[in-house]
Amino acid sequence: MSWIKQLPKEVPLQSGTTSCVGCGAVLSLRLALRILGERTIMVIPASCSAIIQGGYPDTSFKIPVVNSAFASGAAVASGIVSALRIRGIENVNVVVWAGDGGTADIGLQALSGAANRQENMIYMCYDNEGYMNTGVQESGTTPFGAWTTNSPKGKILFKKDIPLIMMEHNVPYIATVNVSYPQDFIAKLKKAQSCHGFKYIHVYSPCPPGWRIPANQTTRIGRLAVETGIWPLLEIENGKLRLTGPSQRILEEGKRTPIEAYLQAQERFRKITPENTKSLEDLIEQSWKRYVALQKCTG
């Protein structure tokens, strides 16, 4: 555990927050802030993380936080980046911390604009695969077959692949991270911090109440997500895609754990039919083929 000792002890987030027990987003936020440090300004569009701050005049954050409207995270951050440059304030991380709805759905336009302009910020999407703050509704990143309150028979559409959409914006750094693999997480966020321009980090964030999993299973589910291949760990550095660490080790088809293990661990997949399980499996295979091909041709 020597790697964790290299991080500063101080986390600019109070030990108590108003998140749910076992919240994957807060675990990731805590780790991210420990890496990013105190010279960080965070923009938070409407999401669970607006609640996690606590109610005025209290706050769980020890850094400046700017709340923003749902669709405007990346645009508000663009304004802040510009103002800091004008005022000559340097060495500050401007970070958007947005949910999947605020990123993949309502916030996609602002995200695309800021990425296209190469605004110097780190955009972190904590993906809990649904509108959890409003009580578990389907989003563009909810996986195929998963139950939500407005997809009672399971989602019939596929998950949007935001990291690959971001790849087409030619930004210097894109990565997927998962708090169950903290070393990989730290290395990637540090890399994002060290390069100039628009950086996109997609954070896997289990949601115990939304995924219907016990609160003590967050990190186990995270590991299963990587082992089954439904959540590949990858980075795209200057257009070069690379599967990282544990995902690099399971490139061949037989090495991945069957998806059933992941599905059975979560109540949200309780009603998934064998045919749909097969479809999901095929989808994962298809994505892997694409990632492997991209790794080969861009690497």
């Binding site: 300004i41 701050q53 109610g55 304004g79 004008i86």
Partner: protein
């Protein structure tokens, strides 16, 4: 002083340059485009030391202004019509955050059906967003109002965003002589942006815009209402100061034309006020005691000023270049509401005219005043609002 021939949009752009705005974020829409084209020229040539963010929507334009203003710089955007409506959510966000952002809105009627011509329904429909709203009569007024708007918005008693509205094409694309003040004089009128207004401070971090419960929310709203009330006095102070420095003759909230001894006053906003003055001159020649009141500041609404007039007048004639569907023109409502507390109320006659760029002629305005006199002479009951200039019979 030397005058330059320029369009209303250029007058706005020159004001933005003179105000030393540091961050401009805008999205193009007809008829606003030449404002941002001119600003981008200023930025590209280095005449203006600012950043210009070419955003992907008006929603993001206002969001960028909010971000930059939160981080402590003077910001500007401009839009029109559909663009203003697309910004709507962020307008509330700006005023709720108490950010002194200034924008111009080039008044253009709303679709469908598509149109690019002027009326005021776009900005009137943003009446309750907590933005101050100024309306301009000519291009000089545009330049001067933008500069004053920054001063008022940034006043510590106010700290609210301001929208400077002017008519699409009628002003935005019409050239007029404009006196561009000296930069040094503007600098002494409008000092550099006070970075103490920044809501982001790395040394003393705060969480901006976080969740509040019913025990506190109302107070935040009351503070905005108080700031709006303060803005009326501040607008008067600033207009006086500006007039003194730049040799103008401005008042802050309303402007009167031949109101002395008037028994009937015509109320209007925007470029239309020039036609109204001509109508007044014509009627005065007939020895009719008619005057005009131009509403410069629509939010906060100058109700005290209207009440002052109301106690001396026989009738108001209101020309609305907007319509609140299912009720009436907005000015008609505001004027009647302002007068309600008077014991002896003057008559108020309302007209909707000039929607979607339809011409309002001087003789139309004269006709409105004659209707008022007719009603007064015959002690008729004052009718409900009337639409002027409709094709043929009432549809």
């Amino acid at each position: 002083m030397k005058k330059t021939f320029m369009t209303g949009n250029y007058a706005a752009a020159y004001a933005v340059k003179l105000a030393d705005v540091k961050m401009v974020a805008a999205y193009p829409i007809t008829p606003q485009t030449s404002v941002i084209e001119k600003i981008s020229e200023f930025v590209a040539s280095g005449e203006m030391q600012a950043e210009y963010i070419k955003v992907e929507s008006e929603h993001s334009a206002m969001s960028c202004c909010i971000g930059a203003s939160t981080a402590g710089v003077r910001t500007f955007t401009g839009t029109s019509s559909q663009g203003l409506l697309y910004m709507h959510e962020m307008l509330h966000w700006a005023s709720g955050s108490r950010l002194p952002i200034v924008m111009v809105n080039v008044n253009r009627a709303l679709a469908p059906p598509w149109t690019i011509w002027t009326d005021q329904n776009d900005s009137i429909s943003q009446r309750d967003t907590g933005w101050m709203q100024f309306y301009c009569e000519d291009n000089q007024d545009i330049l001067d109002t933008v500069l004053q708007a920054y001063k008022i918005a940034e006043d510590q008693r106010v700290l609210l965003p301001a929208m400077v509205c002017y008519d699409g094409f009628e002003l935005s694309h019409t050239s007029m002589p404009v006196e561009v003040p000296d930069k040094r004089d503007v600098d002494s009128f409008l000092p550099p942006y006070n970075t103490a207004n920044a809501l982001i401070d790395l040394e003393h971090p705060t969480t901006v815009g976080s969740l509040v419960n019913p025990d506190l929310y109302m107070e935040f709203r009351f503070l905005i209402q108080q700031a709006m009330e303060n803005a009326k006095h501040v607008a008067e102070e600033v207009a006086e100061d500006y007039s003194w420095r730049f040799n103008r003759n401005y008042s802050g909230q309303v402007e009167c034309y031949k109101c002395k001894g008037a028994e009937v006053v015509i109320v209007s906003m925007g470029a239309l006020s020039s036609e109204v003055k001509e109508a007044v001159d014509r009627l005065r020649k007939e020895k009719l005691a008619v005057g005009a009141v131009k509403i410069k500041l629509f939010r906060p609404f100058p109700k005290e000023k209207i009440r002052e007039f109301g106690s001396r007048l026989k009738a108001f004639v209101i020309v609305d270049r907007n319509i609140s569907f299912g009720m009436e023109g907005a000015l008609f409502t505001e004027i009647k509401s302002s007068l309600f507390s008077l014991d002896e109320k003057p008559k108020v006659l309302g007209f909707v005219a000039g929607l979607g760029g339809r011409d309002i002629r001087v003789r139309d305005i004269v006709k409105m005043v004659r209707k008022a006199y007719d009603a007064l002479a015959n002690s008729k009951k004052f009718p409900d609002e009337e639409w002027i200039g409709l094709r043929g019979e009432k549809l």
